[in-house]
């Protein structure tokens, strides 16, 4: 990765983090960068959002939501 690309990446991340804060998502910088990477890999953002939501709300090992999967694609 050349320095130019790195700079762009950092700036993009900054901006995204800004927006994220503004929207009050409660994500930290590192988590956000991981999410961006996953999005870039083509994962469904809805699914990612669901993961974030579930894992944050249900830290317990047996989440009740497991039995009722969200709407099918």
């Amino acid at each position: 990765m050349d320095p130019e690309a790195a700079r762009t990446a950092r700036e993009s991340l900054d901006l995204a983090f800004h927006m994220s804060n503004m929207l009050d998502t409660g994500l930290d910088r590192h988590t956000l960068s991981v999410l961006i990477a996953l999005c870039d890999l083509g994962l469904n953002p809805e699914a990612l959002a669901a993961v974030v939501k579930e894992l944050r709300r249900e830290p317990s090992t047996s989440p009740p939501m497991l039995t009722t999967p969200p709407s099918l694609p």
Binding site: A9, S12, G26, N44, P45, L55, P73
Partner: protein, 844 residues
């Protein structure tokens, strides 16, 4: 490659789960969480909305704005624009996904804020710091949420409640609607182009597009489809009219105005097609709605369509009305009918109609222009309000062209139409009858003065003022030119004057001379008279009077005309003069006008003849010393008888002379001259040929009325002619009387001289005269007796004439005041100046 990516994903997910879980103080089983996450991720592979970063950004921004922090919204849009401008290596590729992710997370946090707050707060509470309660943590928190805020109950479990009810609704709708709205929208769009849709079809029996009842849709949709399909019905109608008209075009005389109308309609339809094309394109696109729950429908719903169709519907309805109205109309009538619809308060309708009319009227205005400026009637389909008829040159002005009231559109007033008609007619008249080319300059001048060019298409509907000014300018100049030509080149005035002088006997010396020389000839029976001889006499009359100095052109036109005669007619009855008016002038001096001139001439000629006869009688009756001297030798009784007879004759003559002279004076000075002077004045102010014709007509009419030739004065005219006949009879009686007296005188002179010549004289008289001479042969006594007898019979005859004359004149004078015309009062006044007649008959 694939595996590598998969591995990368798993690594990243691990990292993510680790990050997320490590945030939580209650660190649960990491493996479980990871498995759970992977399961969620694998279950949803495709997003439910279309990837559009800017639409999502817009939606976020709007939400921020509606939440009341517009500065945040602005900052966000700023950030977004910066973010989206980052491209190239190192930047975020899947921008929309990131945005969408952020949005969902934010939404989730907001909807479960209370929960999250309580759940995050709870562990911090020292009271709850227990492993036992850990298990029920979630439930506990929920209960707390309910208790703390009852309103949150609805937000509590949004996905379940809302989604379930929404699904139920969708199922209900699906059950009710066999056909989805998108299909119906497409059908309606087809119908509005006159094409049958999948479900909505044209039904000839109902005469309209119908959605069959078999198709299960809600009532409201049914009604709406029906409403929208009116447009299709109207379209069919308009389209049908256009194609019908255009197909039949050259065969049927559909007309240029009709063509213009069709092409204007066609243009309107193509604008309509454009709208439909746009709508159709829109119908394919879904609305870029960003909400996870509501399935975003197509952009066009039936309701939206009804809004879109509102304006075309008005226009289409108008066009359909016009099409209905114009089906049987053509040309100017069609333009007029459309014009009537243009009188509308709605600016939309008004503007639309004006646009349409501008197109429709352009052929019509073109016709007006070429007619007014070039005199060309470019009207193959008989659409113009000026109609030409094939006529001879002399009646071109009167009958060649006329207005066709049915084709006159109402925005052209009657007076303007008359003007238009006359201007073109003038040009044609100049061209055909006067053989004149100067009008072209006048027309060009008029066009420049009116501010329009002579090129085509210079005028349009709504510019009635421009049209009017063009017509007025053209009319002014063309009419002036025409009158100039009439006056200067064709010497109309001179001809009128000549007619007055010769036909209306205004040239006294000429009439006198003519009367003198044709008199003997005209006393012959009508069938023995040669018109050539009379023509020769006329010629000599002209040459021996002042008429010889007149323009030879005018004199050449003067002819003798013998009218068709019956048996026993004398030359006097059939003789008349005629004035030959050739091409342009015969428009003014038409046959009927000449016939009227002829009647006036006959009347005047008769009057002149009577006057002439009376003057002739006077010549013989003039008392002179010779006659009075000769009577001294007569016997007293005979002398007295002679004197009384002579006196009777003189009195009667005087009376007749009084009448004839006054009548003559009246006709010449109060009728002819006054009418002529009026006519001259009107000729001066006449602005066009119609004025001139009217003036001439008025001139003739006034002569007719005043000289008792009119319809109403028929009985008067008859009694006048009886009077004339009586006067002529008197003339012959008087002649006989004086002849007898002269004979008597001669005889008396003879007998008073020597009786030597008596025999000779007797033989002579016997030889020459048969009856009156017989009394000369006898002696003096017999002579006296004869004379007495002669004088008695003459006296009786004169008495009879006098009696008849008195009764006729009484009748005439009695009838005069009954006449309406005011000038006849002057005649009565003149005849009865001394109130002799009115005193004689007080009842008159």
């Amino acid at each position: 490659m694939e595996e590598e990516e998969q591995k990368k994903v798993i690594d990243l997910v691990k990292e993510l789960v680790h990050r997320l879980v490590s945030q939580n103080p209650q660190n649960p089983n990491f493996e479980n969480s990871l498995r759970y996450a992977l399961r969620i991720l694998s279950s949803r592979l495709t997003p439910s909305i279309a990837p559009d970063a800017s639409a999502i950004a817009e939606s976020i921004k709007r939400r921020l704005a509606t939440q009341g922090n517009s500065s945040d919204a602005l900052t966000f849009s700023d950030l977004f624009s910066k973010f989206s401008s980052k491209t190239g290596p190192g930047s975020v590729n899947n921008k929309w996904a990131l945005l969408y992710l952020l949005k969902i997370i934010s939404d989730d946090r907001k909807t479960s804020k209370a929960v999250v707050n309580s759940s995050t707060l709870l562990p911090n509470l020292p009271l709850n710091d227990s492993h036992l309660t850990n298990h029920f943590n979630g439930k506990e928190s929920r209960k707390l949420g309910w208790r703390s805020n009852g309103v949150l109950l609805l937000n509590k479990d949004p996905e379940n409640l809302r989604e379930i009810s929404f699904k139920e609704f969708v199922n209900l709708v699906k059950e009710e609607n066999e056909v989805s709205e998108e299909v119906l929208v497409r059908d309606v769009l087809y119908c509005s182009q006159g094409i049958d849709g999948k479900h909505v079809k044209f039904d000839a029996t109902v005469d309209g597009y119908v959605l069959p009842d078999l198709v299960k849709v809600p009532r409201a949709t049914h009604v709406m489809v029906k409403k929208l399909c009116e447009l299709g019905w109207l379209f069919r109608k308009v389209k049908g009219y256009i194609s019908e008209s255009m197909d039949g075009f050259p065969a049927e005389d559909f007309g240029t105005v009709g063509q213009a109308f069709c092409s204007a309609l066609q243009d309107e339809l193509s604008a309509y097609y454009k709208l439909l094309a746009v709508l159709e394109a829109q119908a394919m696109n879904p609305i870029p709605l960003v909400s996870e729950s509501a399935s975003s429908g197509n952009y066009l719903s039936l309701r939206r369509l009804s809004v879109w169709f509102a304006e075309p519907m008005v226009k289409m309805r108008l066009m359909a009305v016009l099409v209905d109205k114009c089906r049987i109309l053509r040309g100017g009538a069609m333009a007029g009918a459309i014009h009537l619809h243009a009188q509308h308060g709605d600016p939309l309708v008004h503007e639309f109609m004006t646009r349409l009319l501008r197109r429709v009227c352009s052929p019509l205005f073109e016709m007006v222009r070429s007619w007014v400026l070039e005199g060309e009637l470019e009207d193959i389909f008989a659409e113009f309000f000026v109609v030409s008829q094939p006529v001879k040159a002399e009646s071109l002005w009167r009958e060649g062209y006329r207005l066709h009231a049915g084709m006159l559109p109402s925005f052209i007033s009657q007076s303007l139409a008359q003007r238009i008609l006359r201007t073109g007619k003038s040009i044609n008249f100049l061209r055909v009858c006067c053989d004149d080319r100067g009008w072209a300059d006048a027309a060009t001048e008029a066009a420049t003065a009116a501010g329009t060019t002579t090129r085509r298409g210079g005028l349009g509907y709504g510019e009635t003022n421009a049209l009017e000014s063009l017509v007025v300018e053209a009319a002014k100049r063309i009419d002036k030119h025409l009158l100039d030509v009439m006056y200067k080149r064709y010497k109309f005035k001179e001809h009128c004057l000549a007619i007055k002088r010769y036909l209306l006997l205004g040239q006294g010396d000429f009439v006198q001379y003519l009367m003198d020389i044709v008199g003997p000839e005209l006393s012959e029976p009508a069938n023995t008279i040669s018109s050539f001889k009379l023509a020769g006499l006329l010629e000599s009359a002209i040459r021996s009077s002042n008429a010889q100095y007149d323009d030879p052109d005018i004199l050449d036109r003067l002819r003798v005309k013998l009218m068709p005669h019956g048996t026993g007619d004398r030359g006097w009855d059939v003789f008349s003069l005629e004035y030959d008016a050739n091409c342009p002038l015969d428009t003014l001096f038409t046959e009927s006008v000449m016939a009227r001139y002829l009647r006036i001439f006959n009347f005047l000629w008769k009057l002149r003849r009577v006057e002439h006869a009376l003057i002739g009688a006077w010549k013989t009756m003039k008392p002179n010393c010779i006659t009075s001297h000769s009577f001294t030798k007569l016997q007293q009784a005979v002398k007295l008888q002679l004197l009384s007879t002579l006196r009777q004759c003189q009195v009667l003559w005087n009376e007749m002379n009084h009448f004839v002279t006054n009548l003559q004076y009246y006709i010449m000075f109060e009728v002819l001259e006054v009418s002529w002077s009026n006519f001259s004045n009107e000729m001066e102010v006449a602005r066009d040929l119609d004025d001139l014709l009217a003036a001439h007509e008025k001139y003739l009419h006034s002569i007719f009325e005043k000289s008792l030739l009119g319809e109403r004065s028929q009985p008067l005219y008859k009694s006048l002619f009886n009077l004339f006949d009586l006067i002529l009879r008197f003339r012959s009686h008087a002649d006989r009387l004086y002849e007898g007296i002269h004979e008597l005188q001669a005889r008396t002179m003879e007998s008073s001289l020597s009786s030597r010549d008596e025999r000779k004289t007797r033989r002579q008289t016997n030889h020459t005269s048969s009856e009156p001479g017989s009394w000369l042969s006898d002696g003096r006594k017999a002579l006296t007796q004869r004379a007495g007898e002669f004088l008695r019979t003459m006296g009786q005859e004169l008495g009879a004439v006098a009696k008849e004359y008195t009764s006729l004149l009484d009748g005439f004078v009695a009838q005069l005041p009954v006449q309406q015309h005011v000038d006849l009062k002057f005649l009565l006044f003149r005849l009865d100046f001394t109130e002799f007649y009115s005193r004689l008959h007080p009842n008159v």
